[in-house]
């Protein structure tokens, strides 16, 4: 149906362009330029969302059938919530904590590079980005080697006698660093750090040094200068970084798979399992749709509360 509307709109545009005379053509020029790209997005972004929603309300003809009958099957949604509520909660909780952590780790690094990098600024920025030129999967698998029970970190911690502290902090569980909630959150934090760090850096870098100097000249303490001048000006970066971190993290399944345990699975794992192992496309689609809607709602709410126009 979406496709039909799009085709009508496109046909209308073509008709206008052909019969509308030069004025209409001038008016339509941008549309003509965008047509192929937008058509692609309509076909392979909007139409799939449509078909996702359709399948999420369909039933299968039989267990292994590839035929689906649209039937307003809301039970797919109730199953998504009843069977996978925990996974939804964990997905949002873990990615929320990971987002906070990326700010805590990424902000100071971005700050140091932007204000103290001097002529090494570009080099430092390059250094920060380089790790992410290796494959996402290899990085995550490397973490599972590093955090292994007989791996270097656990050995170091036990030599230093810090295991009990880490157990108390709930980072370690029964002597394990890996296959814990902390490992999943840590993996998410690591993998999405550049998406937080770079936008913050960009917004910090734009800040006019004179503003900070002015604050200092007016006897502001460094802390106050930061709080009243630098930090507010860097908020657009934090805002963009939050979205770029939280959204992919909430849908991720790689970290939970390689670094988690059966009690730390996220909604991404469930969608992947239902879709690519259980052939349960209706329920998988329902979970996808719920994820999409809830993230869109969160993003809208968040932009209303903290948003700026500078996102894109």
């Amino acid at each position: 149906m979406v496709l039909l509307v799009l085709v009508c709109v496109l046909a209308g545009v073509v008709v206008l362009a052909v019969f509308g005379g030069p004025e209409a053509r001038h008016l339509l020029a941008p549309y003509g330029l965008m047509k192929p790209g937008l058509l692609w997005m309509a076909l392979f972004f909007l139409a799939p969302v449509w078909s996702l929603v359709r399948i999420s309300l369909s039933t299968k003809e039989s267990r292994f059938s590839v035929q689906y009958n649209f039937a307003w099957a809301w039970e797919n949604y109730s199953r998504a919530f009843s069977d996978f509520g925990g996974q939804f909660q964990r997905a949002f909780l873990y990615s929320f904590i990971a987002t906070i952590l990326t700010i805590v780790i990424g902000y100071p690094i971005a700050y140091v590079i932007a204000f103290r990098g001097g002529r090494y600024k570009n080099l430092l920025l390059g250094l920060v980005v380089i790790p992410f030129f290796t494959s996402y999967l290899i990085r995550t698998i490397a973490w599972s080697t590093i955090l292994a029970d007989q791996g270097p970190i656990v050995s170091l911690l036990s030599t230093l006698g810090l295991v009990d502290v880490f157990e108390w902090l709930r980072i370690m569980d029964n002597g394990k660093l890996i296959n814990t909630p902390a490992a999943v959150i840590g993996g998410l934090t690591y993998n999405f750090l550049p998406f937080m760090l770079l936008p913050i850096y960009v917004s910090l870098e734009k800040i006019d040094a004179n503003l900070v100097n002015a604050a200092n000249d007016l006897y502001s303490t460094p802390t106050a200068a930061f709080r009243k001048v630098v930090f507010p000006l860097s908020l657009p970066g934090v805002f963009a970084g939050t979205l770029l971190t939280f959204i992919p993290a909430a849908g991720d399944f790689v970290n939970a798979q390689f670094l988690g345990n059966p009690n730390t699975t996220m909604i991404g794992n469930s969608i992947q399992d239902q879709f690519l192992r259980q052939n349960n496309y209706p329920v998988a689609s329902a979970m996808s749709a719920v994820l999409m809607v809830s993230i869109t709602a969160l993003v809208l709410l968040y932009s209303r509360l903290f948003g700026t126009e500078e996102l894109v």
């Binding site: 965008m34 997005m41 392979f44």
Partner: protein, 278 residues
């Protein structure tokens, strides 16, 4: 006292950033280290002994090399398509506002604010419902172009925002044909932005796992091959290839950094020239 305190604060911030860098490089260090490991038996998870063998024969794993080749081909094709489509959107958007431009902006941002798993699974439901295209090379290219177009359009638009489009007007006034204007004025102006966007798009395509996973059928891209290998054994060649990609990116970065400064200077020199020629 105040200065001492602020100096400590300064220092600790620098130390924190330094620790942050170490954290970022920890897994990279292990990846490179294990590319020199000589695994005992089939498993490259415990350090055994140092060897150059893996580096001397990085393409010995046939399926891995084949997958890398598939990834490069998909990346090149998808990037070519998405760069053209995305740049066209960016050009259209950046000249003037028109009816519906905010809706199109929203459409461009949507793929970025949608989790990959939703993009991947929804596209898969579309392909599942038809019998014209089988899951494989073509569906992966389609999927990659889909998310690349947004990135390209937004990157190019950000780069060319604030350009002086009256230059085109001037060329037209001086009797230049639209094609000629595009070739001599518009294209050179947008080229750096387009190249940057293409590089980004290519990088995204090469490393994409989640969306590809849902739409690849039995086609194995490099990330999918790694995922498959991770379920059995990770050969050191994976670490070697990953390290090679790393080295290549670093080289690109260095070249880009030095070239970037030069081209800034070149641009400053070139600007008036264009005007004179027209």
């Amino acid at each position: 006292m105040n200065t001492l305190r602020s100096r400590i604060a300064r220092m600790s911030l620098n130390v924190f950033a330094g620790l942050g860098l170490i954290y970022l490089f920890l897994p990279i260090f292990f990846i490179v280290l294990f590319s020199f490991n000589k695994p005992k038996g089939k498993y490259n998870i415990v350090w055994q002994e140092f060897t150059f063998d893996n580096w001397l024969d990085p393409f010995s794993q046939k399926s891995l090399t084949a997958a890398l080749w598939v990834s490069l081909r998909i990346g090149a094709l998808a990037t070519a398509i998405s760069t053209v489509l995305g740049s066209m959107i960016a050009l259209a958007l950046s000249r003037r506002t028109f009816k519906g431009s905010s809706a199109i902006n929203l459409l461009l941002v949507l793929p970025l604010t949608t989790p990959e798993i939703v993009l991947g699974s929804s596209l898969a439901t579309l392909f599942l419902n038809q019998t014209y295209i089988n899951f494989g090379f073509v569906t992966v290219v389609i999927a990659h172009v889909m998310f690349q177009v947004s990135f390209v359009a937004l990157t190019v638009r950000a780069r060319i925002r604030g350009f002086d489009w009256t230059l085109e007007q001037a060329a037209a006034d001086l009797g230049s044909t639209p094609q000629r204007t595009f070739r001599l004025v518009t294209f050179p102006l947008i080229l750096p932005g387009v190249l940057a966007a293409a590089l980004l798009a290519f990088a995204l395509s090469i490393d994409d796992f989640i969306i590809t996973f849902f739409n690849a059928g039995s086609t194995a891209t490099f990330p999918l091959q790694i995922y498959g290998a991770a379920r059995v054994q990770i050969p050191p060649q994976i670490n070697v290839l990953a390290s090679m990609v790393l080295l290549f990116s670093v080289a690109l970065l260095v070249v880009g950094a030095t070239r970037g400064q030069r081209s800034e200077a070149a641009k400053a020199m070139k600007r008036p020239k264009i005007k004179i020629r027209k």
